[in-house]
C-alpha cells in the first residue's frame, strides 16, 4: 500500500511538474488544471485503499445466489428433516415414507411402465370429460349468448342447475351408471360444463357492440361477424372459463377415481393403500399435482398465444 501511495504521489508531483513546464495562461485555466489534479489524487486514494481486499463483487454474487436460494431453503430443509427422521426411525413408514423411497417407488413404477399406463388412463378420462362437458358448455354458451330466444328458453334452467355441486350427485350417479367409466365421465363433464358455459355466455354478451356495428357496415356476413369479431372478442372470457374448468376437472377426477376404479392414478393409490405402500400413495398424490400444474401451464400458453394482441397478456 505504501508503494502504491508513493506512485500516486509521484504522479501528482509529475502533474505539478507539468503545470510548471506548461504554465496556464489564465487564472481560469489554472483553477481548472488544479481541480483535475485534486480529482486525480482523490480517485487514486480510493482505488489504492480497496484494491488489495476488494470483497464487493464476491459479496454481490453471493447475495444474488442467496436470494435465489432463499425461497427453496424451507422446503429443502423440510425434505432433509423428513429424510433424516425416517432414516433415524422417528417417523414410521406407515405414516410417511422417506423422500428417497418415494423417488425409488416412482422410478420403479416408471421403469415397469405401470406409471405411464395409469397416467394415460387418468389423463384420458379427464380430457374426455373436458371435451364432452366443455364442448357442450362452449356450444350452449355460444348459442344462448348469440340468440336471444335461446337465452330466454335455456339460461334460467342452466343457472338453477349450476347451483348443484357436482360431487353432491355422486349417490345418484352411482345409481344411474354404477361405478363404471361412464360415471366418472358424467361427473367430470357436469363439473366442467358450467364454468365454460357461463364465461362463454358473458364473453359473447360483453363484445363491444360498436365493433359489431362496424363489422356490419364493412360488409361482413353473419358468419364473418361471428368468426372475426364475436368469437375473438369473447376469447379472453372463454379462456378464463377453461382455466376454471381445468382446475375442477382434476378435483372431480381424483374423487371419482378414489371411489372406485380398475385403473388410473386413483386405482394405483387406493390399491397401494390396501398393501400399506405409502410410498406409492405419495407418488400418486404427486402425480395429480404434476398433472394439474401441466394443465395450468397449457392453459396459460393458450392465453399467451390467443390473447397476444392484449396489452394485459404481453
Amino acid at each position: 500500500m505504501t508503494t502504491l501511495n508513493t506512485t500516486a504521489d509521484e504522479l501528482v508531483d509529475k502533474g505539478d511538474l507539468f503545470l510548471d513546464v506548461f504554465p496556464p495562461e489564465t487564472d481560469r485555466e489554472r483553477a481548472l488544471a488544479l481541480s483535475h489534479l485534486a480529482n486525480a489524487e482523490q480517485s487514486w486514494a480510493v482505488n489504492i485503499a480497496l484494491t488489495p481486499i476488494d470483497w464487493r463483487p464476491l459479496l454481490h454474487v453471493l447475495g444474488i445466489v442467496l436470494q435465489r436460494l432463499l425461497p427453496w431453503l424451507v422446503p429443502l430443509t423440510l425434505v432433509v428433516v423428513w429424510q433424516l427422521s425416517s432414516t433415524l426411525g422417528w417417523l414410521s413408514t406407515r405414516v410417511l415414507p422417506a423422500p428417497l423411497s418415494v423417488l425409488d417407488a416412482a422410478w420403479g413404477l416408471a421403469a415397469s411402465g405401470e406409471l405411464w399406463t395409469h397416467v394415460r388412463i387418468s389423463a384420458g378420462r379427464a380430457l374426455l370429460g373436458l371435451a364432452v362437458g366443455g364442448g357442450l358448455g362452449l356450444v350452449l354458451g355460444l348459442l344462448t349468448g348469440s340468440v336471444r330466444w335461446l337465452e330466454t328458453l335455456l339460461d334460467s334452467t342452466i343457472q338453477m342447475v349450476r347451483n348443484i355441486p357436482a360431487l353432491a350427485l355422486i349417490p345418484l350417479v352411482i345409481l344411474w351408471f354404477g361405478i363404471e367409466e361412464s360415471a366418472k365421465l358424467f361427473l367430470i363433464s357436469v363439473a366442467v360444463f358450467f364454468p365454460i358455459y357461463i364465461n362463454t355466455f358473458h364473453g359473447i354478451r360483453n363484445v363491444d357492440p360498436g365493433l359489431i356495428e362496424m363489422g356490419r357496415t364493412y360488409g361482413l356476413s353473419r358468419w364473418g361477424l361471428y368468426r372475426q369479431i364475436i368469437l375473438p372478442g369473447a376469447m379472453s372470457s372463454i379462456l378464463v372459463g377453461l382455466r376454471f374448468s381445468l382446475g375442477l376437472m382434476w378435483v372431480i377426477l381424483i374423487v371419482a377415481e378414489t371411489i372406485s376404479a380398475q385403473a388410473g392414478i386413483g386405482y394405483l393409490t387406493m390399491n397401494a393403500r390396501e398393501f400399506l405402500q405409502t410410498d406409492v400413495v405419495l407418488v400418486g398424490i404427486l402425480l395429480y399435482a404434476a398433472l394439474g400444474k401441466l394443465a395450468d401451464v397449457f392453459a396459460k400458453g393458450l392465453e399467451k398465444y390467443w390473447l397476444r394482441w392484449h396489452p394485459g397478456y404481453q
Binding site: G210, R216, Y218, G219, Q228, M235, W309, H310
Partner: protein, 270 residues
C-alpha cells in the same frame, strides 16, 4: 362544388333527402329534412349534441330506417347498408386482435392485402402494418380507420365526429389528410361535427341542424387549402358559431382564434 375530372378516384354519389324524418317512439328526432348533396361535395353538419345530426348520418348510412320521407343515393332509395358507403366512427373501432394491416383489409378477400398496404401508405402508416392497434396513439388509430374506409373505394364517406377525441394538433394534421384524400379520391363526404372550425376548414357547405330540422345551410367559398389564421375564415367561423349558440347580437369577446397558427404558418411534427 364538383371535382375536376383529373381526380383519380372513383367519384362520388348524389345524396338527396326528401321530407326525411325519424322518430323513436313518440320522440321526433328529425323531421322534414330536405337536403341535396352533389357528387364529390364535402358537407359538414354542425349542431349541439342531441340535435339529430348523428341520426341523419345513421339514416344515410342505412344503419337505421327512416320513419318518414325518403332518402336517395344517386336516385336509389336507401335500404339498409350499402357497399358504396363507408363510415368513420367517433372511436376508431379497430379490432384489437388483428394487426393494423388485417384491420384495414377487413371484409376484403385475401387479394385485398396489397390495396390495404397502399392505403396505409397514403395515411402515413406504411411502416406500422404489423403493429397491434393497442400500441398506436389515438390519432394513428383514426388514420387506420380512415384507411380501412378508403380501401373499399367508397363513393360516400360518412364521418361521425371522427376527430372528437383527438388533441388539437393531431386534429389539424388529420384535417389536411382527410382533405387531401378527398381531393384524390373524389368521394362525397358528409362530416358530422360539433367543432365549427373543423367544419369551416373542411367543408364546401356547412349545415346547421337545430331541434331536428335544418336551420342554416351556408356555402363556404374559401380557397383550399384553407388557413385558419385568415380573417375571412375567422369571420365565417364566428358567424356560424354565433348562430349555433343563438347569440342575437354577436359580442366581440367571443374569441375563437386561439388555436389559429401565426401568420407564418406552423409545421406540425408527426
Amino acid at each position: 362544388m364538383t371535382q375536376d375530372n383529373t381526380s383519380t378516384g372513383q367519384g362520388g354519389v348524389r345524396v338527396q333527402a326528401r321530407a326525411l324524418g325519424k322518430s323513436y317512439g313518440k320522440r321526433q328526432v328529425l323531421q322534414g329534412t330536405e337536403l341535396l348533396i352533389e357528387p364529390g361535395e364535402f358537407v359538414a353538419i354542425v349542431g349541439r349534441s342531441g340535435c339529430g345530426k348523428s341520426t341523419l348520418l345513421r339514416l344515410v348510412a342505412g344503419l337505421e330506417p327512416a320513419t318518414q320521407g325518403e332518402l336517395l343515393l344517386d336516385g336509389q332509395a336507401v335500404k339498409g347498408l350499402n357497399d358504396h358507403t363507408r363510415i368513420m366512427f367517433q372511436e376508431a373501432r379497430l379490432l384489437p386482435w388483428r394487426r393494423v394491416l388485417d384491420n384495414v383489409a377487413l371484409g376484403l378477400p385475401e387479394s385485398g392485402k396489397t390495396a390495404a398496404a397502399q392505403v396505409l401508405e397514403q395515411v402515413g402508416l406504411g411502416d406500422r402494418q404489423k403493429e397491434w392497434p393497442a400500441r398506436l396513439s389515438g390519432g394513428q388509430r383514426q388514420r387506420v380507420a380512415l384507411a380501412r374506409a378508403l380501401v373499399h373505394k367508397p363513393q360516400l364517406l360518412l364521418l361521425d365526429e371522427p376527430l372528437g377525441a383527438l388533441d388539437a394538433l393531431t386534429r389539424i394534421e388529420m384535417h389536411e389528410l382527410i382533405e387531401n384524400l378527398w381531393k384524390t379520391h373524389g368521394f362525397t363526404a358528409l362530416l358530422v361535427t360539433h367543432d365549427v372550425q373543423e367544419a369551416v376548414a373542411l367543408a364546401d357547405r356547412v349545415i346547421l341542424i337545430e331541434d331536428g330540422a335544418i336551420a342554416l345551410d351556408e356555402r363556404i367559398d374559401l380557397a383550399r387549402p384553407r388557413s385558419r389564421g385568415d380573417a375571412h375564415f375567422a369571420a365565417i367561423e364566428k358567424r356560424i358559431l354565433d348562430r349555433v349558440l343563438q347569440r342575437e347580437d354577436p359580442e366581440p369577446s367571443v374569441d375563437t382564434s386561439w388555436i389559429s397558427p401565426p401568420a407564418g404558418g406552423l409545421r406540425w411534427a408527426i
